[in-house]
Structure formats: structure tokens, C-alpha cells
């Protein structure tokens, strides 16, 4: 079989239709002139500079209060007044109890996207226009809605918000779009190393049989239909489990009126709250790897579940542990992994409280070479927290940072509102936040060590790494089991044998299988020459190519656009020639080599003769079918050939040409004199769009005009 090869010349040409190829940038920066020598002017009164100034008396941090009331239907309303700026925000938090979505994982999220897309009397277009026209903001999620506006539109905006929640409509046409968007967003997520690490660490920390560990996948997304989404809405969107948080330029009586007018009609309903076994830490240390070939960094997360109730002293002290371990610039993780070792731009920890189950995490992105060293430092720091507990200097900084962060929060009504919501939602003591800083202040070294020992367990944790597969093996030593577990981007275990090279096949067998599939090696190699005519369309113009190859190592190819020959390439007797628009192009040695590799009818014949250059790499899916992959290390660089695992016909070739990766797909095999040739080809990576070519004729053993091989 014949490989079609569009040399670089064509590539440049195709791109050249619409643009000048950008020239390499030249440096034109005016170098800054060296500054005149600056005499170190004597600075008077130096003494005061030598030491830090004394602070004034500490300001009092006074947390603002909030109003709380309940509507008859059970909706809890919270008001945080702040009249500094003429603006208002509304958050509707629907406390959907965590539940397993199973085959429909992601349904609640899709509901969130559907909510803003129609009401009984408005289309999405009308909602968008109404919101944008007044410069407001209205977004919805699987847990409610958020809206903000300047004060003068506060009525309009709460009205819109209540309508999208209470009068929601679910048109099929919008659902199709929502699903399409979700599909794109998910595809996007599973290429982002941060997002992959987040998904997989949740799945491993909580388990995929816990609501916190469940992940939406392309499969679950496919199975969600509109009825599923509607039932999430009907089951869980009820006022008696919801909170309306109003913040900003509003008076209590006004807030009460707005809430009552717009949310009283919402009907109360009981919601079942499922229970789940609490996820546990692993017995030892597990090492879990997600392969992302080509990554230049490894995303490391060390994570395990913790039992930490919100609103407790333990949760406040856990915050202090987190500060000392991995929050500030001089916290232990940052000092070690960034300021001392320079493995990373940043290494942090986080501890989250939650009435069901919380989590401990420590994480960083590090360059590939130091992945195992960085994991070792993480484990070292987690262990050290027990061996060398947070000391008094560290604790003082942790306390100061916590108090400082509280002080800065006063400026943000949204932060105050989140404290208020936590207070009512978790049913905390009304004084919990006002007295928070006292608990911080009174926490002793012992208190903090106790919480640290409980939460940070270096011997019982999960290490999750997303990165290039080459870094995985070195991580096995951290695992109690001595082995690395592999996962896919959805947190599902991957059986590595599936992608490993099939043990019962050799490269030679694959190549012979291929010849058998196209009609027999002997018959194929008996062909003296093959001439193909191909046709396709590029930017509205007809592209045609004639391509002739011979069994004695010659080739000739002419490419025409709309009848004009734009490229002519030949190889014969060790010489190569390429002309573009009639002009000869100077060829680097690599290009000559590449052309020589094309001057053959079936490259597989050469592969069989040089089996030491051919490796069977494994299997991979091509167009939904399993294909066996051979890597051929030729003079023109590595080429990957893909053969259908069942039929053994060649389905794809991938080769690199400079910075470009060119992919050729073959299909529509039809016999010509008993040998199968592909009659349909798709080339990607050559132009900004795929080029589809169909064979209009394939002829073998014809009388060739010797002129077509003439080299000037």
C-alpha cells in the first residue's frame, strides 16, 4: 500500500494562501543605557531604619451582625446590611442533600445550567437582555442562584431571580445546548492538569461510591435526559431547605417585603436525606497516578478524609495548623519546597470542615525531574508536624494571620454574609464568629498539636500525581503496597495491561498480518508501479494530486490547485527535487531523506527488512476501534503506524515534521488487481482544517512516462 505524503512545501503553500508567513521576530529593543554611577548619598538619621517600627494600639475587630427571619414556607432569610455603596446582592442557597447520582452523575449540575434558560413567560434571550440591560448579574447553579445589582434595580433583580427558580421551564431545545456545553466543558476539564488532579483526588479521598467522590463523565452525561434533570428540581428545590442571603444597601423591612413578595409562593415539600458510611483514611500510604503524556510539571496532591465539624474549636485550631503548615509565605511547605528547594512556584495545604466528612490536602505543581523528591518532602513535612509540633513562633504567626484575615474580611460584605449563612445553616452558636478570635487567641501549643496529630497523618494518606508517565515508576517506593495504582481522568482504576503491548504479537507478525490483509505479501511486492489520482477541496478550490511510486525506489508527485500545478516533487536514483510554482526549492538533508522514504510502494516491505528499527508500542483507539501501534525510527524521524487490531488494515500514520504533527487517516479500502488500496484519506495537521481526499483512480503496472522522474 502506498503512503500519501504531502511534503512541507504543500503545507507552506496552503498556509500561504491567506497570509504572509510571519517572519521571525527581530530584536529591536533599545537596550537601556547604563545608568550614570550613583554616588551612595549619605542618608541621615539611619538608626530608625535598623529595626521595625512599633505598631500602634491594635484596632478592635468588630464583626457586623445580621438579621435572620423565616417565611411561612420555611425559607430562611438572612440580611447583612451595608450601605457604604449603592449595591445589593442576593444569594439563594438550596441545601440539596448530598446523594449519589450514579449513572446520572452530573444531573444536578445540568439543572443549574438549565435554570436560567427559560421561565413560564421568558426565553433565555429575554432573560439575558433583561439582566444585561441594567448591568446586573444573575447566575444559577445546582445549589441555587446568585444575583447582584446597583441599588436602583434591586426590585427588578430579585423578581428575575425568583422567576428563574420558581417558574423554571425546561425546553428540550435548551437542554440540547446545555448538554453540548457540558460536554465541551468536561472535555476541557479533563485536559487541564489542575482539574484532573481535583477530580481524581476527590474520587480517591472519598471513594466514587460517596457523593463527594462521584464524577460526571462523558458516559453519565450522555445518559442524563431532561426528565432526570426535572426530577432533581422537583425533588430537591424546596424553600424549607433553602436560604436567601441578602447583602448590601437594604433595610430590614424592605428585605422582609422583597423576600415575602417574591418567595412566598414557593411550595414546601419534604426531602429525604440519605446517609452514607463516612469515608476512611487508607491503612497505609497509597500512590495513585494519572497519566498525562507531555506534561512539563507533575501536579501532586496528598489527601485524605477527616472528621471535622464546622463551628467547633477543633475546626478553628485546624485553621491554625493549616496556616503553619502551608498557607503563608513562610509556612513550612512553602519554605521547604519553594524557598529552599525551588521545586515549585507554590506548595500549600488546606483543611476543610464539613458536617459529613471534610478533608486534608497538601499540594503543589513541580517540574517532572523532582516529582519523587517533592513527594518525599511533602511526607517529611507531614511527619515533622508530629515530631516537631508547631512552635510558639509559628503559632504566633498563625494567629496573627488568622486575625489579619478576619480584619480584611470586614471590608467584604460577602465574607460577612458567608459567616452569617454558616451560622444559620450549620445551626452554630450565634456567637461562634464574634468569639472566633478569642478561641484563636486562647489556643495553646498543646491544643494545636492535638488537632494536628489528629488531622495530618503522613502514614495514612493518599498521594495523587498527574503527570508524564515517565515520572510514575519512581513513586512506587512511597506506597505501602510498593506499587503505583493507575487511574483515568474520572478517577476510575486503569488496567495497565489494556494499553500495554499485546504480549502475543510481534512487530513482524503485525507487518505480515497487514500484507495478508491487503491481499498477500507476494502479490503486493510483485507490483512494479502504482499511480493514484486524488481529489479534494481546499477553501473552495479543487485540489488534485497525482502520485506515482515504483518498486525500484522512484517517486513523482504533482499537486494542482484549480488546474495549476503548485507543487512537483520527485525522487529517483538517490536525488530529490521539489518545485513550488515552478521554482526549485532548496532541500535540507532531512527532506531528501523523507522523500526517499516515500519512494516506495509499500513502506511495510522496508520495515520488514529493518525490523530492528520497528517497535511494537501498544494499542490505542483510533476512531473508536482498537489499533496496534508500531513505531518506526527512520532517517526522517519516528513514524507511528496504526493497524486495525481486527482487520490488520492500516488506519493511520502519524509523523512529525518540524514543529508540526501530521496525521493521515486511511479508509474505504477497495481492491485494485486483487490488492486493497485506501480510497479515502484525511490529512490533519497540515492546514488549519482537515483536508479530505478521495481517489478518483488507482492504477497499477501501467506504462510510465519516464519524463515524470526526470530531475533537472
Amino acid at each position: 500500500m502506498q503512503r500519501l505524503y504531502f511534503p512541507l512545501a504543500i503545507l507552506l503553500l496552503l498556509l500561504g494562501f491567506s497570509c504572509g508567513t510571519p517572519k521571525p521576530a527581530t530584536t529591536g529593543t533599545e537596550p537601556a543605557p547604563p545608568p550614570p554611577t550613583q554616588t551612595a548619598a549619605p542618608v541621615a538619621n539611619e538608626d530608625f531604619r535598623a529595626t521595625a517600627p512599633e505598631p500602634g494600639p491594635a484596632p478592635e475587630i468588630q464583626l457586623g451582625d445580621f438579621e435572620e427571619f423565616e417565611l411561612d414556607n420555611g425559607l430562611t432569610v438572612v440580611l447583612v446590611e451595608n450601605h457604604k455603596l449603592p449595591r445589593v446582592s442576593y444569594q439563594l442557597f438550596v441545601d440539596v442533600p448530598p446523594h449519589l447520582e450514579g449513572a446520572y452523575a452530573g444531573a444536578q449540575q445540568l439543572l443549574g445550567s438549565m435554570l436560567r434558560r427559560a421561565t413560564t413567560d421568558m426565553t433565555k434571550e429575554e432573560i439575558d437582555e433583561a439582566v444585561d440591560f441594567i448591568g446586573a448579574n444573575l447566575s444559577t447553579s445546582g445549589a441555587g442562584a446568585y444575583a447582584s445589582t446597583i441599588s436602583k434595580y434591586k426590585e427588578e433583580v430579585i423578581d428575575l431571580m425568583s422567576k428563574v427558580i420558581l417558574n423554571a421551564e425546561f425546553p428540550e431545545s435548551e437542554f440540547a445546548k446545555v448538554k453540548e456545553d457540558a460536554r465541551a466543558a468536561l472535555a476541557q476539564q479533563v485536559t487541564s492538569p489542575d482539574a484532573i488532579a481535583g477530580r481524581v483526588s476527590q474520587a480517591i479521598t472519598y471513594g466514587t461510591n460517596h457523593p463527594y467522590g462521584e464524577q460526571m463523565t462523558q458516559e453519565t452525561l450522555d445518559s442524563i435526559d431532561l426528565e432526570v434533570v426535572k426530577s432533581v428540581y422537583d425533588t430537591y428545590f424546596v424553600p424549607n431547605r433553602s436560604y436567601l442571603v441578602m447583602v448590601g444597601d437594604l433595610r430590614p423591612e424592605e428585605a422582609r417585603r422583597l423576600a415575602t413578595e417574591h418567595f412566598s409562593d414557593w411550595e414546601e415539600r419534604d426531602v429525604a436525606v440519605p446517609e452514607f458510611p463516612t469515608p476512611q483514611r487508607p491503612d497505609g500510604v497509597t500512590v495513585n497516578f494519572v497519566s498525562r503524556p507531555g506534561s512539563v510539571q507533575s501536579n501532586i496532591i496528598v489527601s485524605h478524609p477527616v472528621e471535622l465539624e464546622p463551628g467547633t474549636k477543633a475546626s478553628i485550631r485546624a485553621g491554625l495548623v493549616d496556616q503553619a503548615l502551608g498557607s503563608g509565605f513562610n509556612s513550612r511547605l512553602l519554605s521547604n519546597l519553594r524557598e529552599d528547594k525551588a521545586y515549585t512556584y507554590g506548595a500549600y495545604s488546606s483543611i476543610s470542615d464539613d458536617p459529613r466528612v471534610g478533608s486534608f490536602r497538601a499540594y503543589a505543581s513541580v517540574r517532572n525531574e523532582v516529582t519523587d523528591s517533592a513527594v518525599a518532602e511533602f511526607l517529611y513535612e507531614l511527619e515533622r508536624l508530629t515530631d516537631e509540633p508547631v512552635d510558639s513562633a509559628e503559632l504566633a504567626v498563625a494567629k496573627a494571620r488568622t486575625m489579619g484575615s478576619f480584619g480584611r474580611a470586614l471590608e467584604s460584605p460577602q465574607r460577612i454574609a458567608s459567616y452569617a449563612l454558616n451560622t444559620v445553616h450549620y445551626d452554630l452558636d450565634r456567637d461562634f464568629y464574634p468569639e472566633y478570635l478569642q478561641v484563636v487567641q486562647n489556643s495553646s501549643l498543646n491544643d494545636v498539636a492535638e488537632v494536628a496529630n489528629d488531622i495530618v497523618t503522613a502514614g495514612n494518606t493518599n498521594i495523587i500525581v498527574v503527570g508524564d508517565p515517565s515520572v510514575a515508576d519512581k513513586l512506587a517506593r512511597f506506597a505501602t503496597s510498593g506499587t503505583v495504582n493507575y487511574y483515568d481522568v474520572n478517577g476510575q482504576p486503569v488496567d495497565r495491561t489494556e494499553t500495554a503491548a499485546p504480549t502475543d504479537l510481534t512487530a513482524e507478525q503485525v507487518l505480515n498480518g497487514y500484507f495478508d490483509a491487503i491481499g498477500g505479501k507476494e502479490q503486493a511486492l510483485a507490483l512494479e508501479n502504482v499511480s493514484m489520482m486524488l481529489e479534494g477541496s481546499v477553501q473552495g478550490q479543487t485540489l488534485s494530486q497525482s502520485m506515482t511510486t515504483t518498486s525500484d525506489g522512484r517517486m513523482s508527485s504533482q499537486t494542482s490547485m484549480s488546474g495549476m500545478v503548485v507543487a512537483d516533487q520527485r525522487y529517483a536514483a538517490g536525488k530529490a527535487q521539489v518545485k513550488q510554482m515552478g521554482q526549485a526549492v532548496e532541500l535540507p538533508e532531512a527532506a531528501v531523506q523523507a522523500l526517499a522514504e516515500q519512494a516506495v510502494i509499500f513502506p511495510e516491505a522496508n520495515y520488514l527488512e529493518n525490523l530492528s528499527d520497528v517497535t511494537l508500542e501498544g494499542t490505542e483507539m483510533v476512531d473508536g476501534k482498537q489499533a496496534v501501534v508500531l513505531v518506526v525510527n527512520g532517517a526522517g524521524g519516528p513514524v507511528r503506524e496504526y493497524y486495525d487490531a481486527e482487520t490488520m488494515l492500516k488506519v493511520q500514520t502519524i509523523r512529525s515534521q518540524g514543529p508540526q504533527t501530521l496525521t493521515q487517516r486511511y479508509s474505504d479500502y477497495q481492491p485494485v488487481r486483487g490488492i486493497l488500496f485506501p480510497h479515502q484519506m484525511t490529512l490533519t495537521g497540515m492546514a488549519p482544517f482537515p483536508i479530505e481526499l478521495s481517489a478518483t483512480s488507482v492504477e497499477v503496472n501501467t506504462e510510465l512516462d519516464p519524463e515524470i522522474f526526470t530531475i533537472d
Binding site: S18, C19, P22, T27, G28, T29, A32, P35, P36, V43, N45, R49, A52, P53, E54, P55, G56, P59, L85, P86, R87, K124, E125, D128, E129, V131, D132, F133, G135, I150, E180, A184, A185, Q188, T191, S192, P193, G294, Q297, G328, N330, E339, A342, Y343, T344, Y345, R401, G404, G407, R408, S412, E617, R640, I654, P659, Q660, T661, G685, P688, F689
Partner: protein, 444 residues
């Protein structure tokens, strides 16, 4: 140059006052003065919350790097956390965090910005640290070597290992051939590797002088006391020579540049950069509003046409350039997975541009823009740190800190005809770089 700025400043103050008198939105009061050594000082008092933002902005950024030292300004920003004559390595973080403060810095192509947000009783601490940084910062070799690797990791984490992470780099390196905007703000890896100690000394002495900086303080302060503290810590720092400025004027693009970029991304994208104007150019306002018409909110034209109606894209965005020298206004469209042909989305985008060039926007759209501008003016007053930065930015790049109060009027002066005019003038094919951003064909 300085004299001219000052004169403009006065004029704007007068204009500003008259407008503020009729506008009902909140006004940010501030005092502004200059020390003898050229340091500009801006103070805004707001005693609502017991915190203070102390910030200093230097007029040096990515574009001011020396030859073969791209990314130097940002690298240098990292080094200026290392310490000074009186601050040991790591002490800056210790002092600020130990006082319950937050601190950080960032570097754009045009300026470098350092700040501390402190409990208001620690104002002097912020001033002390910033004066140390300006007067006699100390960079040791261990710091250089550490930060060199840290910055390289920053580059990998934020650009190289992120889908679409190199988008602006790929646009700017094609759109500029002379002006240093052609180089990435974070720097090329090889330049980060070769930066040496002499470079740092030269850079510090050239740009870290009081006459190249604005000290902007906002929050729970007393103006008179603060003036005294500022004088104590900064007045005797010697003025430096005037720093050199980039005066390269990039010639017109001279024809569309089209190219393809392959990346580890699932969604093919259409990415465009139009060469536009400097932030201080009066056309900035019309271009900014044109971008609002295109992509602000779900009812905007690109969202409506490309995402909702034609379903050619799943996400669109556009924004003006706001750099000191003329930069690129960027627009992009991410297409659904599996999209093989980007031409339809390009045509649909082009149709929206042509509509802006041929017809005036509607009265309702125009009113919508003006309503949105009113809202964004108010939301800019949310935090003292944000206010300190806005004041410094306005002073440094527009020569008028008071634009925090008055710039809205410049937007409101833009007409529908202005928007059509800038669409015609800047959004032409000849003036753009257009990239097809494609998924790297899987090669294992």
C-alpha cells in the same frame, strides 16, 4: 514631561470637580503630592474598616528588560522579597504575616506593583518595608538561584502546562516585531537561565529610584500623620537619574498574519488579536465599549450569534488592550469538541465585525452599555487595596489619579458613531493576527 503631566492634572481636576458635583455615585477623596526626590504620594482616607493598603508602583515592566533578558522585571520582583540592609532573607514575609498582614506583588508589561494590606496600626511597618526595598535592597546569590527556579516553575505552571496558557505569547510574538511587547512578560526559559548578578545591580539602579515610583496608601489612616511617616521613611532617599523609556514605535502590521498553533487542548479555538491603541489614547474608550457590545453578558452580540443561535462556539470573549503602549485587543471563540473546520466560526465572527462597521449599534444597546458602565464604576470602589491600585495606575499611565472619579464621563462621552468609527479603523483584516488553535493530534 513631568511638567506637562502636572499641568494636565490640574485641568482634569477642575473638570472632575464639576462632574462629581452632579454625579450621584460615590467619590473617592484623596490627597496627592510629590517629595523633593520625585516620589509621588497618594493618600486616601477611609476609616470604615481598621485596615490599610500600602502600595508602591514602579514604572518598569516586562517591556523594559535588557536585550536577551526577557522577563527580567518579573524575575526582579521575586528578588525584591529577598531582603535589604536591615531585613534578613525571608524577614519581609515574617514581619508582614506576623503583623496579620497580607503581601504580594505583580508585574505587568508596563509596571511592577508591591503591596501590603495591614491592620491599620501597622501602617509604619508597611512604609518601613517599602523604603527598605527602594533604598537598599539586598540580593544574595542564594536568592537569585532559588528564585530563578521558582520563576521557571511559575512559567511552567501558569503557561506551558495550561491549556491555552501560551495564548497571549503566541499572539504578541506574531503581532510585534520591533517593540518589546513581542516577548513574553514571564521571559524565555533561556533568558531566565542566563540572567546574572550584574544585570540585577544595573536594573535596580536604573529603575528603583523614587522619581520612578508612586506610593499609594488607602484605608484607615490619618492624612497628616501619614504624611509625616512618609517623609520620615522616604524623604531622604536620593533621587536617581531619569530612567530610560522604551520609545520603539511598532510599525503597522502591514497585512494579516494567519497561523496555526497546536496545543494539548480538547476544544479547537479561533483566536484573534487586533493592533489597537495605548491606554491613554482617547480611542481606548470607544474600543472598550465596542468590546462590551461584542461580549459583555450573555445578550452580547458574539454570545447571541455564535453561542446561542448558530451554536458554533461554546464560549466567546473579547477585551480591549489596556497597556501603556499600543497592544492587542483580543477576541476568541472556543468551539465544541470535535469541531474540524474553524472557517464557519471565523465567518460568523467576521460578520459581527462587519455589522459593527456598517451599522450603528441600536439605541437600546447603547443605553445598555451606559448602564453597564455606571455599574462598573461603583464596583471599582469595593476594597481599599483596589482603590490604592487604581489611583496609582491612573496617575502613572493617564497622568491623573482622579480619573477614579471621572473616567466614567469619558466613557459616557463616546457616541454610537465613535464605536462604528473604531470598528472601521482598527478591526480590519490587515491589522490582525488570526490563529487557529488546534488540538495536538494524539501522538501518545
Amino acid at each position: 514631561m513631568h511638567a506637562l503631566n502636572r499641568w494636565l492634572l490640574l485641568l482634569c481636576f477642575l473638570v472632575g470637580l464639576s462632574v462629581v458635583a452632579v454625579a450621584q455615585s460615590t467619590t473617592i477623596d484623596f490627597v496627592e503630592y510629590e517629595l523633593d526626590n520625585g516620589l509621588k504620594v497618594i493618600l486616601h482616607q477611609d476609616n470604615t474598616t481598621p485596615i490599610v493598603a500600602v502600595s508602591i508602583m514602579y514604572e518598569v515592566g516586562g517591556k523594559d528588560s535588557f536585550e536577551d533578558r526577557t522577563g527580567f522585571a518579573h524575575f526582579f520582583e521575586h528578588l525584591l522579597f529577598e531582603g535589604s540592609e536591615n531585613l534578613e532573607r525571608g524577614a519581609i514575609d515574617d514581619y508582614v504575616e506576623g503583623a496579620g498582614g497580607a503581601l504580594n506583588a505583580n508585574t505587568s508589561l508596563d509596571r511592577t506593583y508591591y503591596y501590603e494590606i495591614l491592620p491599620s496600626n501597622q501602617l509604619a511597618l508597611g512604609l518601613w518595608i517599602e523604603s527598605e526595598r527602594l533604598l537598599h535592597a539586598k540580593v544574595q546569590n542564594v536568592g537569585v538561584e532559588t528564585q530563578r527556579d521558582v520563576v521557571k516553575e511559575e512559567r511552567r505552571q501558569r503557561y506551558d502546562n495550561q491549556p491555552y496558557g501560551t495564548l497571549t505569547m503566541e499572539l504578541y510574538k506574531r503581532a510585534f516585531k520591533e517593540h518589546p511587547y513581542k516577548d513574553p512578560n514571564i521571559g524565555y526559559m533561556e533568558d531566565l537561565t542566563s540572567a546574572e548578578e550584574a544585570d540585577f545591580k544595573r536594573f535596580y539602579e536604573t529603575y528603583y529610584v523614587p522619581n520612578n515610583a508612586i506610593l499609594s496608601i488607602a484605608g484607615d489612616i490619618n492624612v497628616e500623620e501619614t504624611k509625616e511617616l512618609v517623609a520620615k521613611y522616604f524623604a531622604d532617599i536620593p533621587r536617581g537619574p531619569e530612567p530610560p523609556r522604551v520609545d520603539v514605535v511598532e510599525p503597522p502590521l502591514g497585512g494579516e498574519i494567519r497561523d496555526t498553533v497546536y496545543d494539548q487542548v480538547p476544544l479547537p479555538a479561533l483566536v484573534m488579536g487586533y493592533r489597537t491603541v495605548a491606554r491613554s489614547n482617547p480611542d481606548y474608550y470607544a474600543i472598550s465599549m465596542l468590546n462590551q457590545v461584542l461580549s459583555q453578558g450573555q445578550s452580547s452580540r458574539l454570545n447571541k450569534a455564535l453561542v446561542d443561535e448558530k451554536e458554533l462556539a461554546v464560549q466567546v470573549g473579547s477585551f480591549p488592550s489596556s497597556s501603556q503602549d499600543p497592544g492587542l485587543a483580543i477576541a476568541y471563540a472556543l468551539t465544541p469538541p470535535g469541531t474540524e473546520d474553524l472557517r464557519p466560526v471565523e465567518e460568523a465572527f467576521q460578520a459581527e465585525i462587519e455589522r459593527l462597521q456598517n451599522d450603528l449599534i441600536t439605541d437600546r444597546e447603547f443605553q445598555k452599555l451606559r448602564n453597564q458602565i455606571e455599574v462598573s464604576a461603583i464596583s471599582g470602589y469595593g476594597s481599599v487595596a483596589g482603590i490604592a491600585e487604581s489611583l496609582a495606575n491612573n496617575e502613572m499611565f493617564l497622568g491623573d489619579a482622579n480619573l477614579i472619579n471621572t473616567e466614567t464621563d469619558r466613557y459616557l462621552a463616546v457616541t454610537k458613531e465613535d464605536i462604528r468609527r473604531v470598528a472601521r479603523e482598527y478591526y480590519t483584516d490587515d491589522n490582525r493576527v488570526l490563529l487557529y488553535w488546534l488540538p495536538q493530534p494524539s501522538s501518545r
